[in-house]
């Protein structure tokens, strides 16, 4: 990491004495100023909304916004993520609450979720053309490794206006994450950013995507199959799996690719896949792809129509696509499968140079059943 020139630090100090603290984490003056603005706004609004400010005798609540701001800046200078300090992060039009031990939603995930919502909506339109009753479509989504629940909630906000029967199940191994996801659901409904039906449509459950067959498989089976009345009512299902699993390898976690602040403050369990005893039985090139193996085999067992997986970079995306092809051969489902990587990396975009190291999304679409989606559609759309 390049050293910050003392000239810049002096400049920063002249503008605000708190800016040099923020520079340690932000590394650029513009960003430090923006962050200071956001924190100042939050500190002022907290001080105003605190009714105990005058009456109480406790010294902690007696603080004005200036001291709140100062302590925020100190925390930030130690590398604590801004989202943990402020307690939330905007995600699409939603506000997602954040807390320690749960991964903070990333802007890339936001972009991917928008694309996923488009894909789902288009599939629904395609399916409804081949049906007599367009309202008879139900969309069932499983969001594996949901964390704060951001993907589930944003998908609901985007897809629900077009689909009458929508059910989304978010699954995570961490109890803290599940609690936070439920809190986020209630919070966003209260803020009017989600429809009221989201409360019934979205559920969050604890489950282990890896290995823990008895608990999580039954849970997922339930999630996909336990709505008998809706099965009777609806003629066509659209099953979707979306996931942003831990994908950082042990090596890039340790060698500086992963930022210090992330290593220090965000949960390792949400970033690095664990090493399991039976890992040797699974034919994998890289340990960090283990989640994709489990999710994809599950999708082949259930014949899920649409699978969308976030990957760390394009080489990992390629590996996951290859893994998917291998598994398809194993399950004898090669014919009607369409695998693509989004955003496509064929040099047509003007910034493809450093695109390779950025995250991407692997999309697996199962054709057939009157679905006329062509294979080229998702990639041609992204250009």
């Amino acid at each position: 990491m390049p050293r910050i020139p003392s000239r810049t630090i002096l400049d920063a100090h002249r503008q605000d004495h708190l800016l040099p603290l923020l520079l340690q984490e932000c590394r650029s003056l513009d960003l430090a100023k923006s962050e200071l603005g956001w924190m100042r706004n939050r500190a002022v609004s907290q001080a105003q909304s605190n009714p105990l400010r005058i009456e109480t005798t406790k010294p902690k609540l007696h603080q004005g916004w200036r001291s709140t701001l100062r302590s925020m800046c100190r925390a930030r200078s130690r590398g604590q993520p801004l989202q943990y300090i402020l307690g939330d992060q905007p995600f699409g039009d939603l506000d997602i609450l954040c807390r320690k031990e749960v991964l903070i939603p990333r802007p890339e995930t936001e972009t991917f979720t928008f694309h996923a919502a488009n894909l789902i909506s288009r599939n629904v339109v395609n399916a409804s053309q081949s049906l007599i009753n367009p309202h008879a479509i139900s969309v069932r989504v499983i969001d594996l490794c949901t964390g704060t629940g951001c993907i589930s909630l944003l998908l609901h906000a985007l897809v629900a206006p077009h689909v009458q029967h929508l059910s989304i199940v978010g699954i995570d191994i961490s109890t803290t994450a599940i609690k936070l996801a439920r809190r986020n659901l209630k919070y966003n409904i209260r803020q009017g950013k989600l429809l009221d039906r989201a409360m019934a449509d979205i559920t969050f459950r604890k489950g282990n995507v890896l290995c823990g067959v008895p608990v999580d498989a039954s849970n997922e089976e339930q999630a996909l199959g336990d709505t008998p009345e809706s099965t009777l009512r609806t003629a066509c299902h659209l099953d979707v799996i979306i996931s942003n699993p831990p994908y950082i390898s042990e090596k890039s976690y340790g060698n500086g690719t992963t930022a210090r602040s992330v290593r220090m403050y965000e949960p390792r369990i949400a970033l690095v896949p664990p090493v399991l005893g039976d890992a040797l039985k699974i034919p994998l090139h890289r340990q960090e792809d283990i989640f994709y193996y489990h999710i994809l085999s599950f999708s082949f067992k259930r014949k899920v129509r649409l699978v969308m997986l976030e990957c760390g970079d394009h080489s990992q995306g390629e590996r996951v696509a290859a893994l998917c092809r291998a598994l398809a051969a194993q399950y004898l489902q090669v014919d009607d499968l369409c695998i693509s990587i989004w955003p496509a990396n064929d040099g047509t975009l003007n910034k493809s140079a450093h695109d390779v190291s950025e995250p991407c999304m692997v999309i697996v679409q199962r054709l057939g059943l009157g679905n006329t989606t062509t294979c080229g559609q998702p990639t041609s759309d992204s250009k």
Partner: protein, 430 residues
């Protein structure tokens, strides 16, 4: 001045010149062929043809309903009704005149007729005025909410300081009028204080706000001793204000000409022509890092318009707002280009009257003399605070500019009509 014991020669000449000529009434009269009722024949002819259109269209509408036609009829209805009123008044006057000229009329009737004639003659100019106003075509963005863009011009720090005060003035104005507003963008210049703007965009979210604030577009000049001045000299600096249309979200049922997602619309911006840049360093992304950098820069390649937005923590929100501003700027530029074309067409008739664009100085705020002068309407208010508080003073100034705008529009209309008349005459002999 004349109470002073002596006057320097230059001042005397200047003040004498001011008393000697008063250019404004002269300007207003130019190009208007007025008859007795204060309305030119050209305008009258236009009103008649539009009324004819109105009657045929409404007859057609009685048979088949068409949303487009209905809208047009709604636009023409006030012209038709005012013209009817005007003709009614005129015919009653001529009737009364004939009654007066008739030698057989008895004395009692004659006195009644004289009374009626006087009241009709008083009412006529008002009706003519209304007719003129009805003839002015509605501004294409008149019904829209608007974006108010403030940028300091010449004058360095002082311009930034005054830009902040202008922003405060409009915020106060909006809250006085009960308009919902939000500050989309506020960029502060480098410096220890937070009160030096380098750019601000205020969204005024009320239908018709564009029409109300349209009078504010232009360069605002300030003359005062700045806070940053050590030697007490008066400085002159400038702040430019731009009023841009804010397009509502698609699907709100607006007509297609303002729907920006329709490729046939005048104000459509092709996403292919816009380059989006996320200002972030290369390297690993996603779970590896936790970046708070959310700045977005949009560049419209054909026109070179650049909008950058970094105020919100969400990239998504920044992109949305940047698109809103970009769309507004391009739409305003296109409308202005069209208007310029019209002006070029008219120039022959108008005698090269300059258009008041956004590049022109429109208003001066003079702190030393505690006055605010608008250079278009010529109105001076000697209570600067009431203007800068966004209160009565500002309302008065804006109202005066609005009447000025109406006058200009009528002038332009008359000129256009007379040009068409001339061309018609030229075409006929062939």
């Amino acid at each position: 001045m004349f109470n002073a014991p002596w006057i320097c020669a230059r001042c005397f000449v200047r003040s004498a010149a001011r008393f000697g000529s008063n250019p404004r009434p002269f300007l207003q009269r130019r190009g208007l062929k007025t008859d007795s009722a204060g309305i030119s024949q050209a305008l009258l002819a236009r009103a008649r043809s539009l009324t004819n259109e109105h009657s045929t269209l409404s007859a057609h509408l009685a048979e088949v309903f068409d949303a487009k036609l209905a809208k047009r009829v709604g636009e023409l209805a006030p012209i038709a009704s005012t013209l009817k009123e005007w003709e009614h008044a005129n015919s009653s006057i001529s009737e009364l005149l004939s009654l007066l000229n008739d030698p057989e009329t008895d004395a009692e009737l004659r006195s009644l007729a004289v009374e009626d004639l006087e009241s009709s003659k008083v009412a006529l100019p008002a009706i003519a005025d209304n007719l003129k106003k009805a003839l002015i075509p509605r501004h294409p963005f008149a019904d829209l909410p608007c974006l108010l863009e403030i940028r300091p011009g010449a004058g360095g720090d002082e311009a930034g300081l005054f830009a902040f005060e202008v922003l405060r003035m409009y915020i106060a104005f909006c809250s006085r009028r009960g308009f919902r507003y939000s500050l989309i963008k506020q960029d502060v210049a480098d410096g220890p204080a937070q009160d030096r703007l380098s750019e601000a965009v205020l969204e005024v979210d009320a239908d018709g706000a564009y029409d109300i604030l349209r009078t504010e577009s232009g360069v605002h000049r300030v003359q005062r001793v700045p806070a940053t001045e050590a030697k007490g000299r008066t400085h002159t600096s400038a702040v430019s204000v731009m009023i841009l249309p804010s397009f509502p979200d698609s699907g709100s049922g607006l007509d297609s000409s303002l729907n920006f997602e329709d490729p046939n619309s005048d104000y459509y911006v092709d996403p292919q022509e816009v380059r989006t840049e996320k200002m972030r360093a290369g390297g690993a992304g996603g779970q590896h890092v936790n970046k708070t950098e959310s700045a977005i820069r949009l560049t419209h390649i054909p026109t070179g318009t650049v909008v950058s937005m970094q105020d919100s923590r969400s990239q998504h929100a920044n992109r949305k707002k940047a698109w809103q501003v970009l769309r507004a700027r391009i739409a305003e530029a296109r409308r202005e280009a069209r208007e310029q074309e019209m002006v070029n067409l008219r120039r022959g008739a108008m005698g090269g009257v300059a258009r008041m664009g956004r590049g022109d100085k429109i208003r001066t705020y003079n702190y030393g003399q505690n006055r605010c002068t608008d250079h278009r309407s010529g109105l001076t208010i000697h209570n600067l605070d009431s203007v800068l508080d966004g209160g009565e003073g500002l309302e008065t100034v804006m109202e005066s500019v609005r009447t000025w705008l109406v006058e200009r529009e009528i002038e332009a209309l008359a000129a256009e009509e007379s040009v068409q008349d001339k061309e018609g005459l030229r075409a006929q002999p062939r």
